[in-house]
Amino acid sequence: MSRRMRWFIAGLGLGAGAGFLAAAMGTLGLVLLVVAALWASLVPPRFALLAGLLTASGAVWLLVTLRFAALCNDQPGTCAGPAIGPFLLIAAVVTAVGLGAAAVTAWMARHTVR
């Protein structure tokens, strides 16, 4: 397994945890997610850790928001707060950006002179 792949997998674990924290802790969790993303963007090889973090945190939010939307659909009138649609959209975008970063990382790995 390449170094980039190991960092990508580590990013998946970090992103899953940070995604759950952001959902459970609100602002504090979101700050932790941002700090983790900032740190991950600086860890070489570039984008491997960040790609995993964004892919996993976005996927976690996709699952959480889809599950919540299904719950509200099953039990209408028992949900409150902002609409779920924008959260779904942003989670999808973050996941897509993470996958895009993973593709960039893989491309850089193939085109780097060793």
């Binding site: 459970a24 993303a37 963007s41 209408p76 409150a80 707060g81 902002p82 975008v93």
Partner: protein, 267 residues
């Protein structure tokens, strides 16, 4: 081949997108709203003598704020329930329905306790009395389904088929430790129906969390009332009204009710 230096544009874009998840959704109040109700509740037991009306709230950052009317001064023997049956989130309106509940938790013979009491050494009269307990727990949860806080109302009553002979009421409240929630006020009181026709437990409470959405306004969950009635025939009814305010993430509430003692846990 020379490796290109990675740029910071991508991480910055990602962080902006991620931070945007905390922004509230703008609410727009139309001048002359024609309500478009959604999320119709079709799974509810019907109310007798039902009346429907529209509760109009006011838009606030992140949602709507509603001011709920007080319940009727005289509670009917059969109980009273006020509930939201449809929503119009864009106009901050709720379609409300109130009336007498028809759906009760079924009474089972093994959940109450029955005793025979004799008057004197040689019993000439035997009075049949039974006792029963019932409770309702309302729980607010976050988007993950983790419980945030709860309000429990329990009534314990004895009855003889004609009147409620004695009883007591209790409230229980709680919030998840370490989550930033705090309880601001709470209470429970008993109400006896005329002629001991029922005993009602009513719990209420207010919780707040200033850290969850900071720097946005403090989040509140208010339990306006959590009522359980005990009746002379041993059955119970319940009703609740609660709301949350200023959520930056969606919340959800569950209602649990059963005969017997509240088990002391959150499902």
């Amino acid at each position: 081949m020379r490796q290109r230096r990675p740029r910071l544009a991508l991480p910055v874009l990602i962080l902006v997108l991620t931070a945007a998840t905390s922004l509230p959704v703008a609410q727009v109040q139309a001048d002359q709203p024609t309500y478009s109700f959604i999320d119709w509740r079709t799974d509810l037991a019907p109310l007798t003598n039902a009346k429907t009306w529209i509760l109009v709230g006011r838009p606030i950052p992140g949602g709507c704020s509603y001011s709920y009317p007080a319940g009727p001064d005289v509670i009917p023997d059969g109980g009273w329930e006020l509930r939201s049956i449809a929503l119009d989130p864009s106009d901050c309106a709720k379609l409300m329905e109130e009336g007498t509940p028809t759906a009760f938790v079924p009474v089972t013979a093994d959940k109450g306790t029955t005793s025979l009491t004799s008057d004197g050494e040689e019993a000439r009269t035997l009075a049949l009395t039974s006792s029963q307990s019932a409770w309702e727990q309302v729980v607010w949860r976050d988007i993950l389904g983790l419980w945030l806080n709860y309000d429990v109302s329990q009534v314990d009553w004895s009855y003889n088929g004609s009147i409620v002979t004695s009883g007591s009421t209790h409230g229980h409240w709680g919030y998840r430790w370490g989550s930033g929630w705090a309880i601001d006020s709470y209470g429970n009181y008993s109400t006896w129906g005329s002629g001991s026709s029922y005993l009602r437990s009513e719990s209420w409470s207010n919780f707040s969390n200033s850290a969850f959405c900071w720097p946005l306004p403090t989040v509140y969950t208010d339990y306006y009332y959590n009522r359980v009635w005990g009746f002379p025939d041993g059955h119970a009814t319940r009703s609740q009204s609660s709301a949350s305010f200023n959520e930056c993430l969606p919340f959800h509430f569950d209602v649990y009710t059963a005969y017997g003692n509240w088990p002391g846990t959150v499902p």
